[in-house]
């Protein structure tokens, strides 16, 4: 529960005190960032083409949508919920957005629709979780089936092609930087500040850490749960915009296991599945780390078929570290 500790004034040694606090609060995030840098340095030495601007751009902007989706998932896991339907949701939102784009409607409508629909669909999950009391793992499992099946039933598996060039957001640039990269950085920073500074954001950690206590201090827990699901849905919509506008066509299926990739990013980024801790920065960095590992395997001539095994080991080690740290803290705190 490092995020809940009260800031102590380290007046005697402001520099080291501040450094120590950053290390304590963002130790996990720094570790993931360090892992990325080491990976870039090592693989870049073996094969310089790995760190070429072209490869880095394609790695980072091609996977920015996972980082964006992981922001919402982080909030969901912080309040001790889970959403298995996010992959199917992104598939549905991509088709909604693409259909509007080719219908001749103004392009901003095609961009706004997935964000609004994402929030609306995800709120339904939130209401079922918060007010009907069905566990989120089950509700989202049912939602996943409904969204996946519904998508293919409605579209018949047909792809959407001939997307107008003005719609292809992921191919645009801001100040010479690829749009997905900019979005990833801006959204992650904004969400990180919001979760750290706002009363709403901070209340999420309390809900995840101890829902009873949160209720006792007057936090409307049920309404917050619905709100977090809605926000998560909106982020899924934003992720859709980056995902669906990469190519000229939109498939009516979702990448298999996308929900697990997104959850994994959040977990490796340091979000404790036990609720109450974790930051969106860690989740976004973890998404970057995966993308870099996937690309690095190709550049050092290791079959990419081993990628998933590597990610599995990474998840287990991360969670092991989290469990061990919690144990140590409990022992230290409880004499």
């Amino acid at each position: 529960m490092t995020d809940m500790t009260i800031d102590r004034p380290d007046a005697g040694a402001p520099m080291t005190g501040a450094l120590r606090r950053v290390l304590r609060e963002y130790g996990h995030e720094l570790l993931v960032a360090l892992a990325i840098l080491v990976l870039l340095a090592v693989v870049g030495t073996i094969n310089p083409r790995f760190v070429s601007a072209r490869n880095m751009t394609s790695v980072f902007s091609g996977n920015a949508y996972i980082a964006v989706a992981a922001i919402g998932m982080t909030m969901i896991i912080v309040i001790r919920q889970i959403d298995l339907s996010v992959g199917a949701l992104i598939g549905v939102l991509a088709t909604i957005s693409g259909t509007i784009a080719v219908s001749g409607a103004p392009v901003w409508v095609a961009w706004a629709a997935p964000v609004i629909c994402g929030a609306a669909i995800s709120s339904v999950t939130g209401v079922l979780v918060a007010y009907a009391g069905i566990p989120s793992i089950v509700v989202s499992l049912g939602m996943m089936a409904i969204l996946q099946g519904g998508l293919i039933s409605v579209t018949g598996g047909a792809w959407i092609s001939d997307l107008p060039p003005a719609f292809l957001l992921a191919k645009m640039k801001v100040l010479g930087l690829p749009m997905p990269l900019v979005w990833g950085v801006v959204l992650t920073s904004a969400a990180a500040v919001w979760m750290r500074m706002s009363a709403f954001g901070r209340s999420l950690y309390l809900i995840g850490g101890n829902a009873e206590a949160a209720r006792a201090v007057g936090i409307p827990v049920r309404r917050r749960i619905v709100a977090v699901f809605a926000i998560h849905g909106a982020f899924a919509g934003l992720a859709t915009l980056l995902f669906a506008t990469q190519l000229q066509v939109i498939q009516s299926t979702t990448p298999a296991n996308l929900e697990l990739v997104i959850i994994t990013a959040a977990v490796i980024g340091g979000v404790s599945i036990l609720g109450g801790t974790g930051t969106v920065i860690g989740a976004s960095l973890a998404a970057v780390l995966f993308a870099a590992i996937g690309s690095a395997l190709i550049f050092v001539n290791v079959s990419a078929y081993w990628l998933r095994a590597l990610i599995g080991v990474l998840i287990l080690l991360t969670v092991l570290a989290d469990v061990m740290r919690r144990r140590r803290e409990t022992r230290a705190g409880g004499h």
Binding site: G142, V267, I273, Y305
Partner: protein, 312 residues
């Protein structure tokens, strides 16, 4: 009695209703040939779901079963064709390795106190990755005739794998319903701390359920390979979600402490009846998935509602 098994009763009515409607819709549905074929198709999911009932009733979850199935299929091909082992030995080794995968899940959950959801999410990636790495996207074909009998043959007019499933069901019903181990599983699911204080073998029971889960997944893999006569590293992808849907639909509480094998079997029957019946009625498989999702959520809504009224 009715109160205790209200969820199962609701499901039984639902299953009977589905079967009746579907029989009226299509003359082919209630034929023995179709029913036997449905049994063949549901065996792999059902075998894993039986053990998953234990896992979920103990308050845990196992997301890695689909990956263990894929890894087992790949290992079966590797042991037999690449390493030249006799096929029966390869089958035994695959069952052993499946159990070992399950044991490893149990180890990280029990020894390190990792939440099962995340521990098995990690091994889901790990085992699938091993399957992909070992197979390098190559499949193994050319299985002998006797091996194909497991997945394609019949004995006394009933598919071979359905006999295996029936035997497994009987064992599961006895263990969960009538043995000390079954009561231990429920006790852990209700309150692990209380179970520990009561001196129940909590750790041993957890090891047992996760190991059995891996074993069931590898048995399902052997049957699946025999049925489709090939191995692929992506076999069993998404199996965990089908299995969990059936178990939860069957009334097992995702929080643990409650659930029956009969409920799981009814859940499996409802899903299979919907899938086959709707496809016979000309509705595509994807429409069926939607219906399963709706049925899952509505059943849970109904049973949470009934429960809160019973408590009030």
């Amino acid at each position: 009695m009715i109160n205790r098994h209200s969820h199962e009763a609701v499901l039984a009515v639902l299953a009977a209703l589905a079967i009746a409607v579907l029989a009226l819709q299509s003359a082919e549905f209630l034929t023995p040939a179709n029913l036997m074929n449905q049994g063949r198709l549901m065996t792999e999911v059902a075998l894993v779901a039986l053990v998953m009932t234990f896992v979920i009733a103990s308050g845990g979850i196992d997301l890695s079963v689909g990956s263990i199935m894929g890894l087992s299929a790949v290992l079966l091909g590797t042991f037999w064709q690449k390493m030249g082992m006799p096929l029966p030995l390869a089958m035994v080794l695959v069952l052993f390795s499946g159990a070992l995968c399950g044991l490893f899940n149990g180890f990280i959950i029990v020894r390190f106190g990792m939440p099962p959801l995340i521990a098995t999410l990690g091994t889901l990636a790990l085992y699938r990755g091993l399957a992909e790495g070992i197979s390098q996207a190559r499949s193994v074909r050319g299985w002998p005739e006797w091996f194909a009998q497991i997945g394609q043959g019949s004995f006394a007019g009933v598919p071979v794998q359905v006999w295996i499933l029936l035997a497994a069901m009987a064992v599961a019903v006895v263990i969960l319903g009538y043995s000390r181990w079954g009561r231990t599983v429920y006790a852990i699911g209700s309150s692990e701390t209380a179970a520990r204080f009561a001196g129940l073998p909590v750790d041993a029971a957890k090891y047992a359920v996760y190991t059995a889960s891996g074993l069931a997944a590898s048995l399902a893999a052997i049957i699946f390979v025999s049925r489709v006569s090939t191995t692929r590293s992506d076999m069993g992808t998404g199996l965990e979600l089908d299995v969990i849907t059936a178990v939860v639909l069957g009334g097992t509480s995702i929080f643990g402490g409650r659930g029956t094998i009969i409920g799981t079997v009814l859940g499996l029957v409802v899903i299979q009846a919907l899938e086959s019946g709707l496809s016979l009625a000309g509705i595509k498989g994807d429409g069926t998935i939607v219906l399963i999702g709706v049925v899952l959520i509505l059943t849970l809504l109904a049973s949470t509602f009934a429960e809160s009224r019973a408590r009030a």
